[in-house]
C-alpha cells in the first residue's frame, strides 16, 4: 500500500533538540530554587516503627518540613497506573508505621538544599521493632510472618487477595480449556519441567524525578517523569483526598521508562511538601534509590507440562505459575495474567489448556510493570519447553513450531477467557505472518547449516537457538486514547494528544499519522502531548498501546479535520459539494470549475477575512477497540560458548517481526533492537540479588550490569510485510515484542551447544560452568 507520510523513516521530531542538549527533562525545566526532598528509608526488611522523633532534625537551619506516617492521610492506595477500577490491591499507604522492605519510606524531609536535608536526616531518631522477614517467594504463602497485617487493605474487585496468607492475588479454575490431565495422559510424548525467571531492573538512564508547585489559580502542578499523567493525577487525588480539578500533571521529555514510570514514585512526596509549605519542591532519585526503591520485574516460577502425539501435534499445555510481587502488589494480577494470555495463544491447536497460580508478597523491592510484563517470563518457560518437547520427539524445533503455531485467520480460546484483570475478548488473527517470520529468520541465521552446533576450537562451540513470541496492541475496551487537531492561520496544525512519548518516538509517529490522515506534509503538524490540562485523555504509554490505540484516535481526528477543511474550501470556491474538491499538495482544487485555493489562504481567511464565516477549525478523535492485534516475532540466535569459562557471546541475534505497517520503519527497528538487547541483558547477566538479611546487593551500575556496546556482536531485525485492518494504516504495536525471546532462544542455543538445559535465569558464566562440571 502506498502512503505519503506513514511508512517513512523521518527523524524524531524532538531528536535534534534532545541531542543538542536542550533543557527538556523534569530536572532540567523545573526551578533550581525548589525545596529538595529526600527520604529517610528503612534499614530493615520488615519492622514496625515504635517511635520516631524529628525534633532535632527540624531545628536544622534550612529545613522546611519533615513528614512522617503520623502526618499523612491513612488511605490505602496502589501506585500502579493502569485502570479504574484498579486491578492491583490497595495495599500501600503514603507512609506507614510498618516498613516492608529495605528502603521503604519512613520520613519525607524537605529543605533548601541537598546538604541541609542530608544533615537533618541523620538527626531523625527512629526505634524499630524488628520483625522476621519473608525473603524467599517460595516460602511466602502461609508463612507465620504476615507482611500486610493491616485491616484497611482491599481490592476494588475480586482478585483473590488473601493478605493473611501473603497472597496478593490468585487466579484459579478459570483458564481451563478441555481436560488437561486426560489429554496429557493420552499423548505419546510428554515433558514436565520447572523454570525460574529472575527479577530485572529497568535502569532507564533518567532517574525517577518529580517536581511540584502551586500556580496562580492555587492549583497543584506536578511535573513528572511519568508514563501515565492521567493515572498519576487520579492517584494523587485519591491519596490526598483532593478534587482532580485542583491537580495538573505534566510529562515533559522522559529519559526512558520501560514500565518503571508506570507507577507513581516521588510525585506524592513532592505534592505533600508543596501543599504543606506552599513552595516548589523537587525529588530526584539517586541511582541507588532507583535500584532499591522503585520497582523490578516480577520474579516467577513456572511448572509446565506439555504433551504431543508422535507426529508432533501439541495436544496439551499446563502452566502453573508462582509470581513474586515483593512488598506491595502493583501490577500483581495483570502481569500474572499476561504471562498466560501473551504466550499460550502461540500454540492454538491444543486440545486442552490450563493456566493458573498465585502472586505472593515478600519483604523485597516491590515488583511492577516492565516491558514484556509477564510475557517474557512465560516465553522463557514455554519456548524452552517446546524445545524440550522437540528434542524428545526427535523433531527439528523449527518444524515443530511451524506445525503448531497460530496462523492468519485463526484464533485461540485464551483470548476470550483471559484479559488483563478480568475476562478477555475473542480475537481472530486478521494479520499474522508468524510462519513467514519463522521461515525468514531460519534463512537469515543459516539454520540448516548451523543447527544444532559446531565445534570451532577445543574450547569453543558455536550453536543456534530459536524462539517465537507474541504481544498485544493495547488492552481491548479498557485502553482509550484521544486526540485533538487545531488549524492555525498559517495552514499548520496543533496535534494535542494525551499519549506519552517516553523516548519511543510516539510524538513522531502520531504526527505522521495525523499528516497522512489530513493529507499534508508532516512538517505542518506541531505536537503537544501529555498534559492533563491541555491535552485530551489517554491511558498512557503501556501495554504496547500507543501506536494502535492512540494512533487510531489521531487518524480519526485527522480524517475529520480533512472533511472540515474540504467543506470550508468548497464554500470559498463556491462549489456545491465537497466531492468536487480535491486536496493535494496543500491546495484545494475544484474539478469542475478549475478554481483553487491554498491551505494557507484558506486558514488565513478563516481567521481574518471571511467575516461572518470566520471560525476556528478543530477536530477530535477518541479510540478504544475490542481488538488488540498481536505483533509476532521469530527469533534466532547464534552463540559462541566457551567451555573453559562458561561465557556466552552472542554472535548474531535475528528478529523477524510482524508489527503490521511500521509507521516509521527506523523507529520501529530501534524499538525491536533495543528490546532484544534488554532481553539479552536479562538472559546473560542482569540479576537483582539480595543479601541473606534482605539488603539489595545489586544497587548500582557497577554491581548491576546492563549491556554495553561491546557485549553483543550483531542484532539483525527485519519486518514482515503485514497489514492489520484494525490498525492505523495497518499498524500493530512494536514496543514490547522485541524483549520477549532472548531468554528462551539463548537457553535453547546453550542446549544445542552442550546438551545442558538451563532452566533458571540468568545464564551467567559461573552457572553455565557449574552445569558443565556436573556433566
Amino acid at each position: 500500500m502506498e502512503f505519503q507520510e506513514v511508512k517513512h523513516s523521518i527523524p524524531k521530531v524532538d531528536g535534534p533538540g534532545l541531542l543538542k542538549g536542550k533543557s527538556a527533562y523534569t530536572d532540567d525545566i523545573t526551578t533550581d530554587t525548589a525545596l529538595i526532598i529526600k527520604l529517610l528509608r528503612s534499614p530493615h526488611p520488615f519492622a514496625r516503627i515504635s517511635s520516631i522523633d524529628i525534633s532535632k532534625a527540624l531545628k536544622v537551619d534550612g529545613i522546611e518540613g519533615i513528614i512522617t506516617h503520623k502526618d499523612v492521610p491513612r488511605i490505602p492506595i496502589t501506585r500502579a497506573g493502569q485502570g479504574y477500577p484498579e486491578p492491583s490491591p490497595k495495599d500501600k499507604f503514603i507512609l506507614d508505621e510498618y516498613v516492608r522492605y529495605v528502603g521503604d519510606e519512613v520520613a519525607i524531609i524537605a529543605g533548601i538544599n541537598e546538604k541541609t536535608v542530608q544533615d537533618a536526616m541523620k538527626l531523625i531518631e527512629v526505634e524499630y521493632e524488628i520483625l522476621d522477614p519473608v525473603l524467599d517467594f517460595e516460602k511466602a504463602e502461609g508463612n507465620t510472618t504476615v507482611i500486610h497485617p493491616e485491616k484497611e487493605i482491599y481490592s476494588m474487585f475480586p482478585i483473590g487477595l488473601d493478605a493473611k496468607n501473603n497472597i496478593a492475588c490468585s487466579y484459579l479454575n478459570t483458564m481451563i480449556y478441555g481436560d488437561v490431565d486426560k489429554a496429557i495422559a493420552e499423548s505419546d510424548v510428554k515433558i514436565e519441567h520447572r523454570y525460574y525467571s529472575q527479577a530485572q531492573q529497568h535502569t532507564s538512564l533518567e532517574p525517577h524525578t518529580s517536581s511540584a508547585y502551586i500556580d496562580v489559580q492555587e492549583r497543584l502542578n506536578i511535573i513528572s517523569s511519568t508514563q501515565n499523567p492521567y493515572h498519576t493525577r487520579r492517584i494523587i487525588g485519591e491519596a490526598l483526598q483532593m478534587p482532580l480539578r485542583n491537580i495538573r500533571v505534566v510529562k515533559p521529555r522522559i529519559g526512558g521508562g520501560f514500565g518503571s514510570k508506570q507507577q507513581i514514585h516521588n510525585d506524592l512526596f513532592c505534592a505533600l511538601v508543596t501543599l504543606k509549605t506552599g513552595k516548589p519542591s523537587k525529588c530526584f532519585y539517586t541511582r541507588k534509590e532507583v535500584f532499591e526503591n522503585t520497582f523490578t520485574r516480577h520474579q516467577m516460577r513456572f511448572d509446565i507440562r506439555m504433551a504431543a502425539d508422535k507426529q508432533g501435534n501439541i495436544n496439551a499445555i499446563d502452566m502453573q505459575l508462582l509470581s513474586n510481587t515483593g512488598a506491595y502488589g502493583e501490577h500483581a494480577l495483570t502481569t500474572f495474567m499476561v504471562a498466560g494470555s501473551k504466550s499460550l495463544p502461540l500454540y492454538n491447536k491444543v486440545k486442552a489448556l490450563r493456566f493458573e497460580g498465585k502472586v505472593v508478597y515478600t519483604n523485597t523491592c516491590p515488583a511492577g510493570a516492565f516491558r514484556g510484563y509477564g510475557a517474557i517470563q512465560a516465553n522463557f518457560a514455554l519456548e524452552s519447553a517446546v524445545a524440550e518437547l522437540a528434542e524428545k520427539l526427535k523433531m527439528d524445533p523449527v518444524e515443530l513450531r511451524l506445525k503448531n503455531c497460530i496462523k492468519e485467520g485463526e484464533t485461540s480460546p485464551v483470548f476470550k477467557v483471559m484479559g488483563e484483570g478480568g475476562e478477555g475478548i475473542a480475537q481472530i488473527m486478521e494479520s499474522c505472518k508468524l510462519d513467514y517470520c519463522i521461515k525468514r529468520g531460519q534463512k537469515l541465521i543459516g539454520w540448516n547449516k548451523k543447527f544444532p552446533s559446531q565445534k570451532i576450537s577445543s574450547t569453543k562451540i558455536r550453536s543456534v537457538g530459536t524462539a517465537i513470541a507474541m504481544q498485544g496492541s493495547g488492552i481491548p475496551l479498557l485502553d482509550m486514547g484521544a486526540a485533538v487537531l487545531k488549524l492555525n492561520d498559517d495552514g499548520f496544525f496543533n496535534l494535542l494528544v494525551g499519549a506519552t512519548d517516553l523516548g519511543t518516538g510516539s510524538d513522531t509517529i502520531l504526527s505522521q499519522i495525523a499528516a497522512e490522515a489530513i493529507g499534508v506534509p508532516v512538517d505542518r503538524i506541531v505536537i503537544t502531548s501529555s498534559d492533563t490540562d491541555t491535552t485530551p485523555y489517554d491511558v498512557g504509554a503501556y501495554a504496547s498501546s500507543t501506536t494502535f490505540v492512540s494512533g487510531n484516535a489521531v487518524r480519526k481526528a485527522g480524517l475529520e479535520m480533512r472533511e472540515k477543511l474540504i467543506t470550508e474550501a468548497s464554500r470559498v470556491l463556491a462549489v456545491e459539494s465537497g466531492e468536487d474538491v480535491t486536496f493535494k499538495n496543500c491546495i484545494f482544487t475544484s474539478k469542475t470549475s478549475d478554481k483553487s485555493i491554498t491551505l494557507k489562504e484558506l486558514s488565513a481567511g478563516l481567521y481574518y477575512q471571511y467575516g461572518a464565516e470566520m471560525k476556528q477549525l478543530i477536530s477530535s478523535g477518541s479510540n478504544t477497540s475490542p481488538k488488540s492485534p498481536p505483533p509476532f516475532m521469530a527469533a534466532y540466535v547464534e552463540i559462541e560458548l566457551d567451555t573453559e569459562t562458561g561465557k556466552i557471546d552472542v554472535i548474531n541475534y535475528v528478529g523477524v517481526v510482524d508489527c503490521g505497517t511500521p509507521i516509521n520503519p527506523n523507529l520501529a527497528r530501534i524499538q525491536a533492537e533495543g528490546g532484544i538487547l534488554q532481553g539479552i541483558g536479562m538472559t546473560l547477566f542482569e540479576n537483582v540479588i539480595y543479601s541473606k538479611d534482605g539488603r539489595l546487593l545489586t544497587n548500582n551500575l557497577m554491581q548491576y550490569k546492563i549491556p554495553s556496546r561491546q557485549d553483543v556482536k550483531k542484532i539483525t531485525v527485519e519486518f514482515a510485510e503485514s497489514y492489520d485492518p484494525a490498525g492505523p494504516y495497518g499498524a500493530k504495536s512494536v514496543g514490547e515484542i522485541g524483549i520477549d525471546t532472548p531468554p528462551a532462544a539463548i537457553a535453547n542455543a546453550i542446549f544445542n551447544a552442550t546438551g545442558i538445559r538451563m532452566r533458571s535465569l540468568p545464564f551467567t558464566p559461573e552457572k553455565v560452568l557449574m552445569e558443565l562440571y556436573k556433566k
Partner: protein, 149 residues
C-alpha cells in the same frame, strides 16, 4: 569557594562547595545537556570534554577543572550537526538522555581515532551506556560519520 571556569570558550566565575562535582556546577550554571545518571561514574551521561578529551564530569571536582577548557554539547554548536544528523537519520536517539554525552564523545573520537574500525568505535564509546536503542542504530549512524564501512 570561588572558582573561575572556562566553559565553551567563555569564562564563568562562580561559588562552589569544596566537594562539588563538575557535573553539579555545570548544571547550576545552566548547562543542562550534562545529565546525572548513576552517581558512580558508570553510565557516561555526564560526559564533557576536558581539553578536548572526554571525561566524566561526575568524577571531577569542579575545583580541579580550573585552568582547563571544558566543552559541552552547547559549545560544539554547528560542529555537532553532522553527528546529530547521523544519529537521528537512523532513529537511534530514542529517549535522548544519553544523547548529548554521546555526541561530545563521538566528536572527540573523530579527532582522536586515526584509523577507525567498528571495534575501535565500540570500544571508544563503550562507556556511553544507552538503555533504549540496542546500540545498532547508533553504530549505523556513527559509522557513516566516521567514514567506516
Amino acid at each position: 569557594m570561588k572558582i573561575t571556569l572556562k566553559i565553551n570558550n567563555q569564562v564563568y566565575t562562580t561559588h562552589i562547595d569544596a566537594d562539588e562535582s563538575l557535573l553539579d556546577t555545570l548544571r547550576k550554571l545552566g548547562f543542562k545537556s550534562v545529565k546525572k545518571g548513576c552517581d558512580t561514574g558508570t553510565c557516561g551521561v555526564c560526559t564533557v570534554l576536558k581539553n578536548g578529551k572526554p571525561v566524566l564530569s561526575c568524577q571531577i571536582l569542579a575545583a580541579r577543572a580550573e585552568g582547563h577548557d571544558i566543552t559541552t554539547v552547547e559549545g560544539l554548536g554547528e560542529k555537532a550537526d553532522e553527528i546529530v544528523d547521523a544519529i537521528v537519520s537512523e532513529g537511534a536517539d530514542q529517549c535522548g538522555y544519553c544523547g548529548p554525552s554521546l555526541v561530545v564523545t563521538t566528536y572527540a573520537m573523530k579527532q582522536e581515532l586515526k584509523d577507525p574500525t567498528i571495534e575501535k568505535i565500540n570500544q571508544y564509546l563503550s562507556g556511553n551506556l544507552c538503555r533504549c536503542s540496542g546500540y545498532e542504530g547508533q553504530l549505523r549512524g556513527i559509522k557513516k560519520y566516521m567514514g567506516v564501512k
